[in-house]
């Protein structure tokens, strides 16, 4: 199995604060990889360096390298726009734009120059179907996306990310603001999407990690303490700190 990301000796600073310390990690293609750990451990920070969303933060500096299918994403030739098209993202809270369902999903493809009516219609429908929300919104494509429920909005955010045809999808605690039923739907969705995409998910919910992920990385104070097969990490953790965390002794 090939790797989608190869992270090597990654250090990340916010000003003087070192948020990530010597992170080394290879993330497998077409698998769900979960990042777990207590708040402020650097899991979201690492996720956001994978499509360079950290570029938007002032004073953020990176050392080391991250390769996406052996291309250096912080290299000189890397076009950030193209990188974010290849590595899509959904956020903690649904952040749909104040426009119609259709325009939300079509925003990405339009950004990348797709203008044709039929082509867009098709992309929108496929993306919505892939995100398992087509049946719920097909009669209200032209209505404001903000009228949907929280869970629907989050699935629509995933559809929006799918619409640019990414290779990897990053999810930053996508279910933390949702009820259990909506959470279940999103988890189901991710399990089907993993056949076509590589998925990396940050979660503070350990049950969620065990339910859906193939590999899990445990973060603590900017370091990757343990990274292995999910089943192994949760049943036979090698590190004492991992064991303490997953048995609920802290965090």
């Amino acid at each position: 199995m090939a790797d989608c990301f190869n992270i090597k000796d990654l250090d990340l600073y916010y000003g003087d604060f070192k948020a990530l310390k010597k992170v080394n990690m290879d993330i497998e293609e077409n698998k769900i990889t979960a990042f777990i750990g207590p708040s402020g451990c650097g899991k979201s920070t690492l996720l956001r360096s994978l499509n360079r969303m950290n570029d938007l933060i002032e004073g953020c500096r990176i050392e080391g390298s991250i390769k996406l299918f052996s291309e250096d994403i912080y290299g000189k030739d890397m076009d950030v726009t193209l990188l974010r098209k290849r590595v899509g993202m959904a956020f903690q809270k649904p952040n749909l734009f104040p426009m119609s369902v259709y325009d939300n999903v079509a925003y990405g493809p339009r950004t990348h120059g797709i203008k044709g009516r039929y082509e867009l219609d098709e992309i929108v429908e496929t993306s919505l179907r892939n995100a398992a929300i087509w049946d719920e919104v097909k009669d209200r494509l032209k209505k404001s996306a903000l009228g949907l429920s929280g869970g629907q909005q989050q699935r629509l955010c995933i559809a929006r990310a799918l619409a640019v045809n990414p290779e990897v999808i990053l999810l930053d605690e996508p279910t933390s603001a949702l009820d259990p039923i909506s959470t279940g739907k999103i988890e189901e969705l991710l399990m089907t999407l993993v056949n076509k995409y590589s998925i990396i998910i940050v979660t503070h919910n350990m049950q969620q990690a065990t339910r859906i992920s193939d590999n899990t990385a445990f973060f603590l104070q900017g370091e990757v303490v343990e990274y292995s097969n999910t089943e192994k990490l949760f049943s036979m953790p090698e590190n004492k700190k991992t064991e303490d965390y997953i048995t609920g002794r802290f965090g």
């Binding site: 499509n51 969303m53 938007l56 002032e58 950030v80 726009t81 193209l82 990188l83 974010r84 098209k85 899509g88 993202m89 956020f91 809270k93 952040n95 749909l96 734009f97 104040p98 426009m99 925003y107 990405g108 950004t111 990348h112 903000l146 955010c157 929006r160 990310a161 640019v164």
Partner: protein, 280 residues
């Protein structure tokens, strides 16, 4: 004993606040009533004839000039105001020296009395650039005057747009330009619009800055370099001459209706922003 004292204090304070509230309403009603009483009898069709003569002091040319003046000054002030607000919120880094200078400058500009703008306009546009007393000199002077207002309200509207929208757009690979024009500006549009309406109110009510820059000719201007008077200046001239006080009051009625209309419109728009805020 102290309880009783406190009760009396409470009563007195309540009466004071009620009194203050009532007084402000009474003053407003009195002014409006007075103007209506004096002005309404003079509102006749002849007051709206296209030509101003010394017998028939029509307000129509002034009304048309007001509209032209408003549009011209907005045309100049909106692009500068909105784009500098975009620069301040979207492009400038926080703590940038230049941003601080821009802020101090706009705050100072908004505190300058309008007569000072008028004097500057006369010295610079009218005399130095030799544009003469003209609607152009007036519009540019007013544009400078309303610039801080438009900038300020646009900046507030833009920074009220939640950052998650920007993240969402960048996350889909959109650049800064597309994010600003497709996501941030549309979301901020109601707030920007409310600021523009307030600016219109300032332009419509301005006299001091205009007397020195666009002059007081009471005809419909035939070019940007023609002198023209707005409604407010028209009123000022009529009451200065003292021959047509009734028509002056009638003009005040029209101006009042215009300003109340603009205020109602801005209140309506502001309400819609409130609704949008809840949506987040």
């Amino acid at each position: 004993m102290t309880i009783k004292k406190n009760k009396i204090k409470e009563k007195i304070f309540a009466i004071l606040t009620w009194g203050a509230g009532i007084l402000s309403i009474v003053v407003l009603l009195y002014i409006i009533g007075f103007i209506l009483y004096k002005g309404v009898p003079y509102i006749k069709p002849s007051l709206f004839s296209l030509k101003y003569t010394s017998e028939n002091v029509s307000l129509m040319p002034a009304l048309i000039s007001t509209i032209i003046m408003t549009l011209m000054s907005l045309l100049i002030a909106i692009p500068f105001g909105v784009f500098s607000a975009v620069f301040l919120t979207e492009y400038a880094k926080s703590g940038n020296r230049f941003v601080k200078i821009v802020r101090v400058t706009t705050e100072t500009l908004s505190g300058i009395p309008s007569i000072v703008y008028g004097l500057f306009g006369m010295l610079f546009f009218v005399t130095f650039l030799n544009w003469g007393f003209s609607i152009l000199s007036g519009a540019v002077t007013l544009a400078i005057m309303i610039l801080p207002l438009i900038m300020r309200s646009s900046e507030e509207a833009l920074s009220a747009v939640p950052d998650v929208f920007r993240e969402g757009s960048f996350g889909l690979g959109a650049g800064k330009l597309r994010t600003v024009f497709k996501i941030v500006l549309p979301a901020a549009a109601p707030g920007i619009f409310a600021g523009i309406i307030l600016a219109v109110g300032r332009v419509v009510g301005e006299t001091a800055a205009l007397i020195y820059t666009s002059g007081t000719v009471a005809q419909i201007p035939d070019s940007p370099f023609a002198s023209a008077r707005t409604l407010a200046v028209h009123m000022y001239s009529l009451s200065g001459e003292g021959l047509h006080m009734g028509e002056g009051y009638a003009t005040a009625v029209v101006l009042l209706v215009l300003v109340i209309g603009i205020n109602a419109l801005s209140a309506f728009v502001a309400k819609r922003i409130g609704g949008y805020g809840k949506d987040k």
